[in-house]
């Protein structure tokens, strides 16, 4: 039983990162009908950016918390800018082209980002400095550290913030409207191009924040971390129904749990096989995602 709970806690932690990334996938898909293959690598770049800030600040003691937040902020910002840059340079020109071109461009960008970072880091792993407190909240049969709680908490905060933005503010409502019916949205005076950029920015910011948190939690990052994590997050976005933000968040947590349980009860090597198996099975049963899509396909 204690194993189960341990896997549960670990799963929720990793799941909250996946949820943040999955939200970014879903948001971008909602406005552009594009699976941003490079999203996972934006996460990776954010992670490295956070590492850079932490190394530069090299603080200790009570300033550590400040440094951690600064790193998350920096990583998020760098990712946000990168995401918008990619969109304008590579995707915007292809919006009227056949779908397959956009997908391939995204794959190309993804590979380019990975290879660039690989060259800059000489394909090595980099370690995050020890930023998170070691203290345990519970340390009996089930070990829950303060840092896990903090990370889950921060992720939840970001998700709540996103939810508030999307449901409570005019801009956020406009974003939802844009995903539903771009022409009707334009007739409201909504600048579709600008709003799409903002959507991209927010989605990438979430991924960047997740990247820094991931780095702080796992401490080791390398150029390839975006690929696998991105793939798992994408699975979550699809499972939740692309464009469906609540679905993406829930599915992100779900996939985190699946990963944790699979690694715990079977072996971490088979975890991805199971995750993909879940994805394929789910799509066979419900070709539009488990929770259904929230975007209208105009006939």
């Amino acid at each position: 039983m204690s194993d189960f709970l341990q896997y549960l806690v670990n799963g929720l932690t990793i799941g909250s990162f996946l949820a943040l990334i999955a939200l970014g996938y879903s948001m971008v898909y909602g406005v552009l009908r594009l699976i941003n293959f490079a999203h996972g690598d934006v996460f990776m770049v954010g992670s490295f950016a956070g590492l850079g800030v932490l190394t530069a600040l090299s603080m200790s003691g009570p300033w550590l918390a400040f440094a951690a937040f600064a790193a998350v902020f920096a990583g998020a910002l760098v990712s946000g800018v990168l995401g918008v840059g990619i969109m304008r340079a590579a995707y915007a020109p292809l919006l009227r082209a056949p779908k397959i071109s956009l997908l391939i461009a995204a794959i190309g960008v993804s590979l380019a980002l990975e290879e660039t970072v690989k060259l800059l880091t000489r394909a090595g792993f980099r370690s995050y400095p020890d930023v998170l407190p070691d203290a345990m909240l519970f340390s009996g049969a089930v070990r829950v550290s303060y840092s896990q709680v903090a990370l889950i908490g921060l992720s939840a905060l970001l998700m709540v913030g996103l939810w508030a933005f999307v449901t409570r503010t005019v801009r956020g409502t406009a974003m939802r409207a844009l995903a539903m019916d771009p022409d009707a949205a334009r007739l409201m005076g909504i600048d579709a191009e600008r709003l799409t950029m903002i959507t991209f920015f927010i989605g990438s910011v979430l991924a960047g924040a997740a990247g820094v948190m991931y780095g702080m939690y796992y401490t080791q990052i390398n150029f390839a971390v975006g690929f696998l994590v991105g793939l798992r997050a994408f699975t979550a976005a699809v499972l939740g129904g692309v464009g469906n933000l609540v679905g993406a968040a829930v599915a992100g947590l779900l996939i985190g749990l699946v990963q944790s349980f699979a690694a715990g009860y079977l072996s971490s090597r088979w975890a991805d096989v199971i995750i993909f198996g879940v994805l394929i099975a789910a799509l066979m049963v419900r070709p539009h995602g488990l929770f259904g899509e929230r975007i209208a396909e105009r006939v």
Binding site: L34, I35, A90, P93, L94, A97, P98, K99, I100, S101, L103, I104, A105, I107, G108, V109, S110, L111, A112, E114, E115, T116, K118, L119, F227, L231, F234, T235, V238, R269, W270, D272, V273, F276, G277, L279, I280, L283, M284, P287
Partner: protein
Amino acid sequence: MTARLRWDPRAGWVVLVLGAAVMGQWLENYALTVGATILIYGILGLGINVVVGYAGLLDLGFAAFYAIGAYTSALLVLNAGWGFWATLPVAIVVAAAAGAVIGYPTLRLRSDYLAIVTLGFGEITRITATNLRITGGPNGLTGVPPVRVGDYELVTSRDFFYLALAFFALVLALSLLIRRSRVAYAWRAIRQDEDAAEAVGVRTVRAKLLAYVVAAGIGSIAGPLSAAQLGTVDPSNFTFLTSLFILVIVVIGGMGSLAGAVLGALIVVGLPEVLRSAQEYRNLAFALLLVVTVLVRPRGLWPARPRPVDLGRGAEETPPEHERSRRERREHREEPGQKRGALLRVDGITRRFGGVTAVEDFDLALEAGEIVSLIGPNGAGKTTTFNCMTGIVTPTRGRVLLAGKSLTGTSPHGVVEAGMARTFQGIRLFDEMTVAENVLLGGFARHRSLIGPWGAGLVCGAGRADLAVVRWCLDFVGLRASADQTAGALSYGERRRVEIARALASGPSVVLLDEPAAGASPVEKKSLMDLIGRIGTLGIAVVLIEHDMALVMSVSDRVIVLDYGRTIAAGPPAEVQRDPQVIEAYLGAPEDDPGPSPVADEARA
């Protein structure tokens, strides 16, 4: 008449292969190894070309078939003592089966989901291979012996180069056959417009599955070759990056063309060799090349071009006929005393969805050669009725009977095979194909099955009967001279006529035309009227949706008027035109007391 030397483009391939064979004598060991690798990737390129280039299904896990081929062959050789040659058919069959397994879940998916599912399968294959003991785990299989031909062992790189060349030549020959086959046409149609393909008689589900199976089979051939070349089967050779590079072959080289696949293989293997000093920049260079190519030349460096269909000269007398019609006519003749029921019977078709009744209780009885028009204001349910009749949408209630056989619930391609063809409101041609190819594809629906008999459809192209159909149809609509023009380049009126020709090519007994005169100039409308009349004289029944009343009134035997999904009038044109209910439906009732306004009184000052 000047005699022109006709250069068969296939001769170019023969020259290429022979040239490579000759070069093999002069090259050094290293160059021979690179050359062999190029040939192996050429085979992979020809394989992925089927599923990505022809059928347009983005496969991001193609390395799985490569791996399956390699592992199957190596396992049989190492564990069961089989010879290399004996393992080949097994490897191909296993990979083809895997292709069916991988393809099946993707059949209902959108292109983006499809890509990720194939990626998932690629990863599953790699992870499985890396983690099972039988496949040697992360170290893979070692000690794969060189290939033997009789008593001779192929150990030198020159020997292997010629082996690879022989295999490549074989795969190339097979690809050349497949390229002009019926199935390849089906694939190309699916890539351009899957729904239109289905509505023209293509069995899209079967065709897509077949694309995976064929692609997997071809790709798997590269596996045993690679195993023999390296002496090992190493799972690190079958990663996502490998799949990506195989995809890059067709994306950069050219989609849907054999030359493109070979060119792509040359680039993917050759370029890093040329830039050997900057090896570590190889992947980055390809990534940037990928993005640039897709921005600048989305179809690749050497994409497929539509090829003219050799129609020959001469005119055809007999209109196209489906194999089933011949059978039916025979049956009909054998029962002369039987009262001939209506050719097409539509009973009580009702279509409801989400609280809206789009069509209610639609009835129609049609005889051969009759022309009936369906008219009504915008949103009256006309196209929905067509969609119910042709299987695009399942009616909530009611049935459709063609020559006594029920069509309700049949898939669109089944409806075409049964003898009812249609055109679309916004003309849906395969714009990248020529006019003749479009009509040819429509004619393929006459065959009883996709690849039958005996898989002939996989390698055989247009037979004499098929070409005769194309000749007849193009003559009938007056577009024989434009046969080799790309469908996308024609004028609107001409495209409309191509669509009608394509519909006629399937040998239908009923044709449904959805707004054929929409957007046509008065001259075009006149020739359309003639065309529709002539279709009627062929004995084919026509149902027409139209808004142009002049056209409707002059060409129809009967007119049916829909309003809010209900039939409000039916009869000869002149009668319907004077019907007060019809006039009211179109123009609105005479203005009387508007009734209470839902706007609050205070607002009106």
